[in-house]
């Protein structure tokens, strides 16, 4: 009965709608895409126009007269964009790694051990999710300065190194695994850290992947914290670099566009490979609120 209804559901959903519906759906989708993707294409077009082409032409020209990568070379020559890319990559990789490690460590006893104070610790962690970073940034700045973290990778990474959301997310993942699996190992006298590492972690891999993707996006796009803690261009991440490019070359939008496209490429590539985790993650994040 159940299998049957799910089967009809599937076939029903995979069938194409009748053509009038098909028509209006695609028309509406086309409109949505113009708004969602159009601005990116306009930026791309601007970045590929040569210096001799008027980018303010009226009516606007979508396809550049002669495609050129000149703007990209000029940006790469005059600004250390490769350095920014490397900085962004290092900071994101470190932050994501630490966040996964710390969050899944902390989540384990919160989900799978009985001990006094568990609810208190979990409650405090949950409450800390309510505090906006904008309230914290002044003391965190002061703290980072006093620890000598200004203009360092560590300074960029540490505030992202563990999020309460990550702990919360991983706790949910551990909770969904049957207790029996773990009990058998405990009965055999396997130490808990080994159970965590060899039994539990492999079982929550999909959640780890989702958390990784989400923290990656958060760190990669972060602007406010780097803006405050970094003032040396050789430590700029891509958002800071693009911002600097925009304020120094605000008169030549070709260069600004080229820099922006350059910084978009890595995340596009990342998105292309991890797309399904985005959708899954947003869905599961939503269930938890």
């Amino acid at each position: 009965m159940r299998a049957d209804s799910s089967k009809t559901r599937r076939t029903d959903r995979q069938a194409l709608p009748p053509w009038p519906e098909l028509l209006w759906r695609y028309a509406a989708i086309a409109l949505v895409l113009v708004v969602a993707v159009g601005p990116f294409l306009w930026l791309l077009s601007t970045s590929l126009k040569s210096a001799s082409e008027n980018i303010f032409a009226y009516p606007p020209v979508f396809l550049p007269e002669s495609l050129t990568l000149d703007n990209f070379w000029r940006v790469l020559d005059s600004q250390p964009f490769m350095r920014y890319l490397a900085n962004s990559t290092i900071v994101a990789a470190l932050s994501v790694f630490l966040n996964l490690l710390f969050a899944s460590l902390a989540a384990y006893p919160l989900a799978r051990m009985q001990w006094r104070g568990r609810n208190l610790v979990f409650g405090v962690l949950l409450a800390s999710m309510m505090i906006p970073f904008q309230l914290l940034m002044i003391p965190v700045y002061e703290l980072a300065i006093s620890l000598g973290l200004q203009n360092t990778y560590l300074g960029l990474v540490l505030p992202h190194a563990c999020t309460a959301f990550g702990v919360f997310f991983m706790r949910q993942a551990f909770l969904s695994i049957p207790l029996a699996i773990e009990e058998a190992a405990i009965m055999d006298g396997v130490p808990r850290w080994k159970i965590w590492l060899f039994v539990m972690l492999p079982l929550v891999k999909p959640s780890l992947a989702t958390l990784a993707v989400f923290s990656f996006i958060a760190v990669w796009g972060d602007f406010l914290w780097p803006l405050i803690i970094i003032d040396q261009p050789q430590l700029f991440t891509l958002p800071l670099g693009v911002n600097r490019l925009a304020s120094t070359f605000s008169l030549d939008w070709r260069l600004v566009a080229a820099g922006a496209i350059f910084s978009l490429l890595p995340i596009l590539l990342f998105f292309a490979f991890t797309q399904r985790y985005f959708i899954e993650g947003a869905m599961r994040g939503a269930v938890k609120g």
């Binding site: 559901r9 959903r13 995979q14 194409l16 519906e21 759906r25 695609y26 509406a28 989708i29 949505v32 708004v35 969602a36 993707v37 601005p39 303010f56 009516p59 490690l101 460590l105 902390a106 006893p109 799978r112 051990m113 009985q114 001990w115 610790v121 800390s128 309510m130 505090i131 906006p132 904008q134 309230l135 940034m137 002044i138 003391p139 002061e142 703290l143 540490l158 563990c162 309460a164 702990v167 207790l179 029996a180 965590w196 796009g221 602007f223 406010l224 803006l227 405050i228 958002p239 693009v242 911002n243 925009a246 939008w253 995340i267 998105f271 959708i279 869905m283 939503a286 269930v287 609120g289």
Partner: protein, 302 residues
């Protein structure tokens, strides 16, 4: 306490095994708790403390009582920022709660290329806000593409000064926030849509209820839980708007786009009035807290 094996007989809803050694949980928790303690909990308490001082990074902080809060009360820039932030919420939140529902309904159907279409709609979400802000600054140019579209379709007679006219700037920045958030909330609603039983629509179909009415009378009421989540998330996000403003208008023209967070940033890191900025931060915190509680209660009650 030391024998984890006592709960040997399995029962249906038994508790998690005991920790074994009492210090074991602590070892697992130390890294996370020290990071969150040092970079969230301690700074939160410190920020509240700072808001009662005249701290400015240079001189020793002196306790000044409620002076910062009194100054806020008489500060027209603070009220302007608060007003802008509230307008921001009032416009952006309903937009982000309602519009993505229709977007989700639109793409919640098996069509050729639908995965690609969903991904494309999600694109603005993964783009850093600095870049989104720059893209739109270019689109909004006086002689830019958007003005061309508006002029040739006859919607306006003169080019619109999107970011340079105080009457338009806030709305123009809001549009970017909406653009950047739409795909995210669409995905949340897609998840919600999957949980609505298909049978409801089949019955409605038999009863001759139109697609549009199905959306209004079946889909939207059953999406209430997702709507609750979206309204909490989008209102908190609207309270914290910063990047769009920083990149596109720097709070101008004539402070028309100065939001609370932008004002905190300006007070703390341009004027170096850290104590004062902390007081604005506390106001922001209280507002976001109140907002989440009100929102949740309001939507649970239904």
């Amino acid at each position: 306490m030391n024998s984890p094996n006592t709960a040997a007989s399995p029962s249906i809803d038994r508790p998690a095994p005991s920790a074994g050694h009492p210090l074991l949980p602590l070892l697992f928790l130390i890294p996370a708790c020290s990071v969150i303690g040092a970079f969230v909990i301690y700074p939160a308490l410190k920020a509240i403390g700072l808001s009662f001082t005249n701290f400015n990074m240079i001189r020793e902080a002196e306790f000044v009582g409620l002076a910062n809060y009194l100054q806020l009360w008489h500060d027209p820039f603070f009220w302007a920022a608060l007003k802008n932030t509230l307008i921001y919420m009032v416009v952006v939140v309903p937009e982000l709660v309602i519009a993505p529902i229709f977007l989700a309904v639109l793409v919640n159907r098996h069509l050729p290329g639908i995965t690609f279409i969903r991904a494309a709609i999600y694109l603005p979400v993964i783009t850093s806000l600095v870049i989104s802000g720059l893209i739109w600054k270019w689109v909004y140019e006086e002689q830019g593409i958007l003005n061309y579209v508006l002029l040739t379709t006859g919607i306006t007679d003169n080019p619109v000064a999107f970011l340079t006219d105080p009457a338009n700037a806030l709305l123009s920045v809001m549009a970017v926030t909406i653009w950047a958030g739409m795909g995210y909330y669409m995905v949340i609603y897609l998840a919600g849509l999957q949980s609505i039983p298909r049978e409801l629509y089949e019955v409605a179909e038999v009863e001759g209820i139109s697609r549009w009415q199905q959306t209004i009378y079946i889909t939207i009421p059953l999406l209430k839980p997702s709507m609750a989540v979206v309204s909490v998330m989008s209102s908190i996000a609207a309270m914290k708007v910063f990047e769009e403003v920083y990149v596109m208008t720097q709070g101008g023209p004539m402070d028309s786009t100065k939001t609370l967070v932008y004002y905190i940033y300006e007070s703390a890191f341009v004027e170096f009035e850290m104590g004062y900025a902390a007081a604005i931060g506390v106001v922001l915190f209280v507002l976001t807290l109140a907002l989440s509680l009100i929102n949740l209660r309001f939507l649970r009650a239904r």
